[in-house]
Amino acid sequence: MKSFLTLFPVLLKRLSKKPLLIITLLLIPLSVLFLVHTTKPEDSILKVAIYCPDAEQDSPSQALTDTLMSLSNSAIRFYPVEKQEMVYQAIENQSADCGYLIPSDLDRNIASYIKNGTSILTAVHADDEMSTKVIDEIVLSKVYRIFSYQFVEHYLTTKLDAPVDTSSLKTSYDKYCKDELLFSFEYTDGQKEKDLSKTTNFLLLPLRGLLSVMILLVCLCSNFLWYEDQKTGLSKLLFPKAKHCFSFLSLLIPAFFAGALGLLSLYLSHVAENTFSELGAMAGLLVACMGLSYTLRNLLPSLPMYLACIPLLIVSSLILCPVFLSLESFFPAISHINRIYPTRYYLEALHYPQSLYALYGYGIITFLLGYLLSTIRNRFV
């Protein structure tokens, strides 16, 4: 305890003499605020151009156009254009991801589709991406309301082989039409997921992953000072009986600072969820990153070899862990490789208890391994 109280202010003061580290870490929450405020309400990931020729105000074509406009959110934004050519131009110069040409007589086209299979509307695409396929389904789902009525009307006409009382059928159909979401989303532990398409800024989606990689980098880089101490022998000279405490605090102080600012960034960006879960996961991450860092410095006594690991660990964490995209669905092998990175467990720890235990387990194992390597080194070197 005495060593801890002696060393803590010494190491804290040493860290305070690295102003760039502190400034950079302080810039993280500021950068997050910057990203939060650069997104306007009309910004969205995917942009869709809609062309509908001059139709009557209450016509199905205009109603469909209005419905699509009302669906705009931070994921997809539908916007109208005045001329058909503007749809093609928008896609060519990438101001729109795709476009739709809605005919002025939509209901006649739908009736024709039911009878003869001719197309209802035109979709203009640049690429066959998953995102444009999803937009096709959204547009078709809105056309489907009109289609569904005409489908049942056509069915009755064919089945009964007689004219159908359309007014009572339409009244009945309109009575049963509803707009509801029949799906609820949940995490592995059964906890409900917040509404995804509301104000969440997609640029902040990888924030948690980026912060975890940043914390790993801080832990790895804090060993520069340890290598310097080993070279000069200063710590052994000044604190011969407190080398383990010195070793631990040299990792803990920068990691703790980075973790605290990371948590602050999560709260500023509204990405943070339950406070206890966040604290538990962040503590686990700090333990895991410190453990990995401690093991690596004892495993690699040579500074050049240690330096070689850092960019590779960082870049591979960003790619192989689901920070931006989960590549595991496309390359299942990655789920085996990314077990070596604390980031993988941290990203799942909030809602997948096994990952939280794995994160702490990872930290404990790496600390024990590092301690074993340190003991071996001290005995034989």
Binding site: L21, S31, T38, T122, L181, F202, C221, M305, I319
Partner: protein, 411 residues
Amino acid sequence: MKQFNRYLFLEAKRIFKKLPGILLGSILLLLFLTGSIFFCQSVTSTTEDEKKIQIAIVAEPKEPFVDFMVSTLQKMKNIKYTLEFKRMSEKEAMKSFHQQKTAIIFYIPKNYIKSIFYGENKTIRVRFTRGQKTIVSFLMQQLCTAASSYILDTEAGIYSLQDYYKEHNLPAEASAELELNLKYINSIASLNKALKFEKIEVKDSYPPATTYLLSGIVLFLLLWGITFGTLLTSENIAFRNQLSLIGITLPKQLYAKYIVFFTVNLLLYLGLFGILSLVMGYAPAKVFLPFASHTDLWLFALQFSPVLLFSCSLIHCIFLWTKDALGGSIFLFGFTILSGLISGCFYPFSYLPDTLQRIAGKLPLYHGLHYGLEMTKGRFSTISFAFILGYSICFWGLTFLAEYLRKEQSE
């Protein structure tokens, strides 16, 4: 000149002493990582089905229509090559989910189909994430909204048929209802025929795989600078002053340091392209590599070298300005990631808000990436090249300024 060459040799010796460890370690680790991925991929993925994203449907064993729905979904043109639907028990689904074989689980509530007939809309639970949300989560939510519309509007059609039959006292309502249900399901499955597709060429579009490859190279070149933090920040002021006295002035000292640093990075750069050249022969890698032959690859490496010049200038500037390996490394990482995010390295550029797109146009990373992408199409982007060169000169100028101010202070 002779003294300058001697100093250059000394500087090279200082850095090259550490180089084998750094370079060899990095290349070995890179080879190990790449090799592990390819090895595990070839062992793990054996069938076409295993390459699809698996979705589990969990329902009561006696729940009607579920098998029919699953087989109908399997036939849908938009999804049949990428998604695979399987009916499972809850236990099997969770086991598969934990093993990461299943990506999404749909839980159909008990007596779901019966509830629809009685006008009650139960909620289907979707369990699809173990970790944080991604853009795929957003799109999944949109797809579920579309699916809700299909279900509710189909119900409206069925109920209005029921009312019509009741109002007009028509016989055989149950069989008509069943027949209409089946027709509705088939019509939803083939609804994409309602769209007439037109495809148009996009100006300046790049394959996503190429964009990510080049983003990876640019980011790696910058983040690689973390390795040199301790080497670039160490200095001997007395030695520096001695050098000035014998005629190797400060600009010459910086110039020598830069040449050596650039040479080291060039070796790494060549090593990186060497690894790409090795993996070019493997079929899975061809998806990512936009080069028809090894000659094209190495020609590209030569043409892309201005980006290496820029990355060296930036790294050199950060560490020589700050003289702090720890802080400089964290700053370099933060700068690279933030610039990369804004410049379209992680997400397609078109996804970004307009404000950020305007800012990105001034950033060196954006121009580095754009320059490389234009190269893959056989075009030379003068503006991007000018930006890269301009930023390189600026950072070099800042380095000189930092050292000059430091020298003035010490005097």
